[in-house]
Each structure stands twice: as C-alpha cells, then as structure tokens.
Amino acid sequence: MQVLVYDGSFAGWLTAVFEVYEYRFTNASIVPEGHRQDSLFTPTHTVYTSDAKAGRVWRGLQQYLSGRAMKQLSDTFLSELPGREDQMLEYARYALARKQPVEKDFSHRAVKYIADTAQKVHREKHRMEAFVRFQKTKDDLYFATVEPDFNVLPLIAKHFSDRYADQRWLIYDKKRKYGICYDLDKVSFVELDWNPTDTRAEREAILNEEEFPYQQLWKDYFTSTNIKARKNTKLHIRHMPVRYWKYLIEKQPG
C-alpha cells in the first residue's frame, strides 16, 4: 500500500491523483496531513499541490464525466468524510479507464459512494438554506451562525446572494471558523474566530431594537400554527433533527 499525503485541499487531492498516475502507484491511498498512520512501515509520498497538475486531472475527468458528475465529485470532497479521497480516486480511475460516463453505474461501489455522499451534502446544503436564521444588528447587518455537518457554505452563497440582494448579511460557520459575507455587491469569504454573543445583555447591545419582538412573533406563529390533535413528534424530529435546534429561534425556550 502506497500512502500519499496531501494538504487537505481539493486541488491537493487532484494533484495526488495526478501523481498516482505519474509514479504508477497501483495500490494507493490518499490521506490528508495530520492523518494518523496505521503503520510506521507504510511508505508515504508527500504531495505538493500544483495547480498545473490539478488542472490536468480536472480537464482529463471532464472529457468523460458530465458537469453534474464533476459537481458530485467536488461536493463529495466537501463532505470532509474520512476515506472519501480513496473512493474518489477509485471513481476517477474507473472513469479514466472506461473512457465513458460512469455516473449512472449505480451498482459500482465507488460510483454508488459518490452518488450517495453528494446526495448527503446536497441535503445538508438544502437544510442550511432552510435553517439559517438571520438576526438584525443595530447597523443593519443580518447575521446567522450555523454548524453544518458538512462544509456547505461555498454551496449556499449563491442562493443567499440571489435572494437577499438588498440586505447586508453574514453567515458564520462556527465549527470551521469562517463565514460568507455579502456587502450588497458580492459575496466574500471571511476567516474569523468569533464567538457570537449569547447572554441577553450582550445581544441587546448589538441587536436592532426590532429584533427581539420579531423573534417573539416568529415563536408565537410557530406555536399557534401547530395542530395539537395531530401531534407527531417522530416526524417533527426527523425533519428537524435536534442537533440543529441550537440556532433555531423557534426552538428556543420562552
């Protein structure tokens, strides 16, 4: 088993795929830096990310894969799931060997993995489009904090900039310590280690005076639109898993 260590970026993974071919590794595994090695004696090969090599692999895959399949591949990468690098490698090798679209070969192990993982990422993207709750600050910035299962902020930027074209907003991923920010013109990525305020006093200091009443109205609405005679907690939780409640206004007590 030949282990290739890359820097954890998508371009890094593409470079690694290039080098698998370049060095003719047959039994290869791609792991990110800092990944714990199972054995001290496994030979490792360090990959230095190269835009040229990455570009060649991307264009090579584009010859055989549809735009949709290419997106499935990059979305799978955003899942951050351990081991996805190897499944993606197997997928790439399969596509390059068959020299034809393979994305619908659902009974192939790697194809199935990519299709399923891309679907999971897509679901999380959709959840974030639903569960982001903006709070308006005194200087008219709408901000929201999220902790998505997967790294989906790059995927939701367009949805929010298309929709909220006339308000400044910031969506902060607390888990990954970065955010996307819209300034009425374009979306940019901002790195920040920020602990959004939690106590009532702190929130009052930064939030717009209309913010609390509107949050309360939303809670009122959420409660009174429920039909008690049809209570179905299982369904409620299946659609709104408990891990998301932390940032949902309507699930806060009071």
Partner: protein, 417 residues
C-alpha cells in the same frame, strides 16, 4: 403595539392552520432590480410539532365571517375571539419574517366580511403592495374568494404565484349538508376562470416573452375528508376530475379535525383520520407520478382504500398474474408499479442495468424496500420466491415483517374469516 400584533397573529394563524397547503414550489420568480426575494424550489424552513412543513406565513386577514359553515372554526356562530390585520401589518410581518429567512413567502386567506369582492380586494391590495412598493419577489399564495369578480381574480393572478379555491367537501351533497349558504358552483366557477386565464397566459408567453405571468405556480384546492360520509371512491374521482379538467397542480386532502359540537359532524375528541388521509395522498401520488389510472386504484366494488396496506401494494395483490417481473428486462413504467420501488429507484435500476445485470445485493444497495419488492420481482440471482403465494399470504408476510408507522392501529391477529 407589539402585544396587539402578537395577539392578532396568534388568533389569525390559529384560524388559518386547517388549510393544509404550504407548498412554495413550482414558481420561477426571479429577484429583479436588486429587490428582495425569489421563488423557486420550495423550502420548508421549519416543521411544527405535528410534523407539518412551515414554508409560508399562513394567516387569515380576518376571521370575521358572514358564513356559518359547520366544519369551519371561523363560522359565524362559533364563540371565538375575532381579529383583523391591517394591510400594513401583513406587509410588515411578511417582509420582516422573510428577511430573517423564516419563510418563503405569504399564504393569505380570509374570512368573508361584508362581501366576496370587498374581501378579495383587500387580499389583492396586500399582494400588490408587496410586489410594487416593496420590490418583493418571494412566494405569494392567495385564496380566491368564491363569488369575487373576474377582474379581481385576474389582478390577483398577476401578483400571486398560486391561487386556490377550496372545494371544502368532496361532493355537492356534503357541502349542502355542512355549508347550506354555499353552492358548489360558486367554487367551480372561479377554478374554471383561473384555469382559462392560465392557459391563455401560457399562450401569450409563447408569443411575447415579456407578457406578464399569471399565477405561475398554478392553482390548487383542498377537500376535507372524514367530516361527511363520502367514500374514497368519491374523493378520488373528484380529485381525478379536477386534475384532468381544471389542470390543478395539487389537490390536498385534509383529515377532519373535530372542532365543533354540531351533531352533523364527528364529535370533539374523535381521532383525526390520519391513516385515511395518508392513503389518499399515496393514491394521489400513484395517479400523478406512477402512471396509474384512477379505476386501477379504487372501484365501486371496493370504494374504500385499504387502511392496513398502501394502495400500490393493494393493486399488486389484486394483479398477481402480472408478477413476478424481471428487473433486468422490464420497462420503466412496469418497474414503477412494483411495491417497494419508488420513481427514483426505478430510474436508477433502468440506468444501472445497462452496465451489468443487477442482483439482490445491488437492488438492496439501491435502496429498494426488499421486504415488499421480493414477492414481485426476479433478478440476476438464483434464489427468488418460487412458491405461488396467495395474495392474503403475501399481505400477512409483509405486515409481519414491516414496521408500519401505524402499527399500533392494527391488530396483528390473522383474521379467522
């Protein structure tokens, strides 16, 4: 000021919640001129504790009503608190909820005060204000008030994404029993009018790309089931008629929630017919997405859907002579008819079998419900169900293995007769 709004919101969302539609999809409204919002795919922003999607701010403009429909919580004779929003209050709530990403838009209905036109005028005014003064491009669903003039319906369609008129009861007799002031034709008339406007608008759009859109997400309707004695046969034939003749996008079925001591209705405390409602939706899906004809699902001999099994399985058990089918050869429409295989899975099977013949293992990994499908298919594996089971046996096997969400509602005993 906030307390008053809060009080109104509680009353008027409570009164609106029995309208089950909350869809926000089917429109392609784009954000223009750096305005606010768009309407595209439909997003459920929250789910209430009853498990229903919250996509739109669903409220009544007022719950004052001149009608006395027995099934309705806002009926004139009911002793409930009454309230009315001002136009500006509805606009402010919609905009502020939307900006915080709570909702996809507004679903506005109303009790009927003074006259149909007077009520409809106000609903239209709110939609107009949102679109023209606030540059709002989010989703708007307006109720078309039965009896409102064509001019108002026309204007409503220019601002709204979807219009709906509720049939309320599946048949004219049912309506007469519970809503003696209302006539079926008062409802059918606007549905027909809206249908014609949509058809005409589609033709105009082909000729002139810039023609204004009219209700781009189409129209829907709702029937209450379980309040009156109609059978599923009557309910589904009515739905079928409206899908075909009126080109409705959706028909909603609302299991009656007992809210009245009126002796024409099920008493308060009677359980909501949720299983029946679920079976009707399953049947509805079979009609719209699975290529079933209504007479394949329900017949005068058996005018009620089975409650213990879904309508597709029931159909398959009545038609065992068609099965088993070979998953590696059968055409897509037939694969979609196999119990345990949905539309997406059927499409995946047809795509995947071009690469290699599929086995049980493959099918399982594609996400097919094998506990149901196995009795109806063969594939590239030597072992399959060889015995000729009777329909009743297959049903018992499936019920014994599956864990239906309604499990507790049924006895597990094998019937003696």
């Amino acid at each position: 000021m906030w307390e008053r709004i809060s009080e109104k919101l509680k009353i008027l969302s409570d009164a609106a919640k029995y309208d089950v539609s909350c869809a926000s999809s089917g429109s392609k409204r784009k954000n223009e001129n750096k305005g606010l919002g768009n309407a595209s795919n439909g997003i459920c922003h929250a789910y209430t504790e009853d498990g229903r999607c919250v996509s739109l701010l669903k409220i009544l403009l007022t719950n004052f009503c001149i009608f006395d429909c027995a099934y309705c919580v806002s009926r004139k004779s009911n002793d409930v608190k009454r309230a009315a929003f001002t136009v500006q209050e509805v606009v402010d709530l919609t905009i502020n909820f939307y900006r915080r990403n709570y909702i996809e838009g507004l679903f506005l209905s109303s009790g009927i005060f003074s006259s149909a036109d007077y009520t409809m005028e106000r609903l239209v005014l709110i939609a107009k204000k949102l679109r023209t003064e606030h540059n709002f491009h989010g989703y708007i669903h307006l109720k078309a008030i039965p009896g409102a003039s064509p001019e108002l319906l026309k204007e409503a369609g220019l601002y709204a994404d979807r219009l709906s008129v509720n049939l309320e009861m599946p048949t004219e007799q049912g309506l007469k029993l519970l809503a003696p002031d209302k006539k079926r034709e008062d409802m059918v008339h606007p549905i027909n009018y809206i249908k014609d406007e949509i058809i005409q608008n589609n033709e105009e759009k082909i000729k002139y790309r810039k023609a204004p859109t009219f209700a781009p997400a189409g129209q829907s309707t709702q029937m209450v089931v379980g309040a009156t004695p109609e059978t599923d046969l009557q309910v589904l034939y009515t739905a079928h008629h409206f899908y075909r003749e009126m080109q409705l996008k959706r028909v909603y079925y609302s299991g009656y929630v007992p809210i009245s001591n009126d002796n024409r209705l099920p008493a308060i405390g009677t359980p909501v017919p949720m299983i029946r409602e679920n079976r009707l939706y399953q049947a509805d899906w079979l009609l719209r997405f699975y290529g079933f004809k209504v007479n394949e699902i329900i017949s005068p001999e058996q005018p009620l859907l089975d409650l213990d099994i879904d309508p597709k399985l029931a159909w398959a058990l009545r038609n065992l002579h068609i099965f088993p089918i070979d998953i590696n050869k059968a055409e897509l429409p037939l694969i979609k008819r196999v119990p345990g295989i949905g539309v997406t899975s059927a499409q995946k099977i047809v795509a995947a079998r071009k690469f290699r013949k599929l086995s049980w293992e493959h099918l399982k990994s594609l996400g097919i419900a094998m506990n149901r499908a196995r009795y109806f298919i063969t594939c590239n594996s030597p072992d399959f169900e060889r015995k000729d089971y009777q329909p009743q046996q297959i049903k018992q096997f499936i019920l014994a293995k599956g864990n239906s969400k309604y499990e507790s509602s049924f006895s597990r005993q094998i019937p003696l007769f």
